[in-house]
């Protein structure tokens, strides 16, 4: 152990910790991120002084290639595609840990039992993270294989039995490998293959709108994989950084599950949304009241307080700039504007916040459901832009509903609620939304961006 290098690692760990601490406020977050990046740079430079390193050619090549790809990806990615980017980055973290574990095994060949256990963990978690993230990425991209949209939940009979057997097979191979690592290369390779398969099988049954949970969980896995790799090569900084990331992923997973009132097990195994139940849809129906852009304008023009509730539809329609323009005009009209953001709105934690920040909406206008619900009766107009299940009053009123108990933005209690929607199709959960049939609800059909731009020009003509 080199005291100089280890001391630098301590400084790096401190900077990672401080960086995360500064992330507790949007005002200091950017500095925190830079501090964290500087810590990473220090750790990398210090590592290059490791005496085991004698050949720098491959290192230089790898760093240059990785940096070029990283810079290009970070520059070119659209803000609406951020979930895909994060999914891929999770996967890359996982595969890197797998490769480090493999390289270490390949060069020692006869590790102690303890090291063999940690190699097994690094390779297994890393493999699951990688293939799971690739599937999550494909689901977010909404690829189609023939007639099958990959973003849908994919379930088949006996899936859970199959997955359980898969886990048992991995553990069995792991045991055989750990008992005699020196002779166990074939088991080791089988473990890698099975871990890839498990990652695919684990993410396939999860539907598109449950992606916030999956991405958070894969984030946690990538941290755990780094942690395990740290045990493999006896490196403190990997363990510290890996567990910080693991904790972050677990906390986010927990927040997402709570926001849907579902257990993690339910999200991972139920194939939620894959079966569209017809039950209950008949009783709730009534008459919907469509509204034109010019009538919606009159409602907004007279309002002194407006709350926007954005959902995934906002991202799909790329309507974040239009909604900001409308909100500015409303403010110029003397109206108080806020954006109520449900934790699971969009495809990843904080997705809506980033989109609205991109459109220059100040972050102090972004509030959580708990901040608006108590006083929502005083809100003149609630504008629901591309959200559905997070504003479904069934979650509050109907004990038989599959989303009963999920916290919602209670837009139905506002004076008027305008729902912007393409058609009357049900939301992700496949259940009817009684909000659409309430007396104080108006439906503004059409593309969200076009409707918002229509409202903007109505304001400007005035």
């Amino acid at each position: 152990m080199n005291i100089g290098i280890e001391s630098v690692y301590i400084v790096s760990a401190l900077m990672f910790g401080l960086g995360l601490k500064l992330l507790s406020s949007p005002a200091t977050a950017r500095r925190g991120n830079m501090l964290s990046a500087l810590g990473m740079l220090l750790a990398v430079v210090a590592t290059l002084f490791n005496q085991e390193i004698i050949d720098f050619r491959f290192i230089a090549g790898g760093i240059v290639l990785g940096s070029i790809i990283g810079v290009l990806a970070a520059r070119l990615i659209a803000m609406t595609a951020m979930p895909e980017m994060v999914a891929l980055l999770n996967g890359f973290g996982g595969i890197a840990s797998l490769l480090v574990g493999w390289a270490e095994y390949n060069s020692t060949m006869a590790p102690t039992t303890f090291t063999a256990v940690t190699i097994f963990l690094a390779v297994m978690i890393g493999g699951v993270t990688f293939s799971g993230s690739i599937i999550a990425w494909a689901k977010l991209k909404e690829f189609w294989i023939g007639n099958f949209g990959i973003s849908k939940a994919f379930v088949f009979k006996g899936q859970q039995v199959f997955n359980s057997l898969l886990v048992l097979a991995i553990l069995a191979c792991g045991a055989l490998f750990m008992m005699n690592p020196g002779e166990g290369y074939q088991y080791f390779l089988v473990i890698i293959a099975l871990a890839f398969l498990l990652g695919i099988m684990a993410v396939m049954p999860i539907g598109g709108a449950d992606m916030p949970v999956v991405i958070s969980l894969l984030n946690a896995y990538s941290g755990m994989a780094a942690c395990a790799a740290g045990f493999v090569i006896h490196n403190n900084i990997l363990i510290v950084a890996g567990s910080l990331v693991g904790a972050s992923g677990i906390i986010l997973t927990n927040i997402m599950c709570k926001a849907m009132n579902r257990s993690l097990g339910n999200v991972l195994f139920s194939g939620f949304g894959s079966v569209v139940t017809a039950a209950g849809s008949g009783s709730e129906q009534g008459e919907v009241k469509p509204v034109s852009v010019s009538d919606a304008y009159l409602l907004l023009e007279a309002a002194s307080s407006v709350v926007f509730v954005p959902g995934y539809g906002l991202a799909v329609a790329q309507a974040q700039h239009a909604v900001h323009e409308l909100s500015q005009l409303l403010e110029a009209n003397g109206c108080e504007v806020r954006f109520a953001i449900h934790p699971v709105a969009g495809r990843m934690p904080g997705h809506m916040n980033v989109l609205l920040a991109e459109a220059d909406v100040p972050y102090d206008e972004l509030v959580e459901p708990d901040d608006v619900n108590p006083l929502i009766e005083t809100v003149d107009v609630c504008m629901v832009v591309g959200a559905n299940d997070v504003v479904n009053p069934s979650a509050r009123d109907d004990e038989t509903s599959s989303i009963y108990g999920m916290p919602i933005v209670e837009v139905d209690r506002a004076r008027v609620c305008i729902v912007m929607k393409r058609s009357m199709a049900a939301g992700f959960a496949g259940i009817q939304n009684p909000l659409f049939f309430k007396d104080n609800t108006r439906m503004l059909f059409g593309d969200a961006k076009a409707s918002l731009q229509g409202l903007v020009s109505e304001f400007k003509h005035d």
Binding site: G17, L20, K21, L23, S24, P26, A29, R30, N33, S36, A43, V44, N50, E52, I53, F58, I59, G62, L65, G66, G70, V71, A74, M79, M82, M85, V86, L89, F92, G93, I95, A96, L99, V100, A103, E104, N106, S107, T112, I215, G223, A229, I233, L238, I239, A241, L244, A247, S248, G249, I251, M348, P349, G350, N353, V354, A357, E358, P362, Y363
Partner: protein, 98 residues
């Protein structure tokens, strides 16, 4: 071996605790930058990858290590840059605008 394991496990436990304390204070509006930023931190595997890619060991280990360097560097560079790009967009309301 046991002593070292205990030592590493100690570090693991304390950093998990620290992680939970720090991250539970991050506001929900910053959850996406938190994910991409922590992603970049998990690219710390690059440290292990560097040693594998540069040491005088079996050929396959060097190849695996180099591949790991590439992936981990994408993670680090891409993660930090994209986080910075996002955080630069978060603005407070200007005072005299209303």
């Amino acid at each position: 071996m046991t002593a070292e394991f205990v030592f590493l496990a100690f570090i693991l436990m304390l950093s998990i605790f620290l992680g939970f304390e720090l991250i539970s204070k991050v506001p929900s509006t910053l959850h996406t930058p938190l994910m991409s930023g922590s992603n970049a931190i998990s690219g710390i595997t690059v440290v292990g990858a560097l040693i594998a890619a540069g040491s005088e060991s079996a050929e396959l280990s060097v190849i695996l290590g180099t591949a790991a360097v590439v992936f981990a560097t994408i993670n680090v560079v891409g993660g930090y840059l994209v986080t910075n790009r996002m955080l630069a967009m978060f603005k407070k309301k200007e005072g005299g605008k209303k």
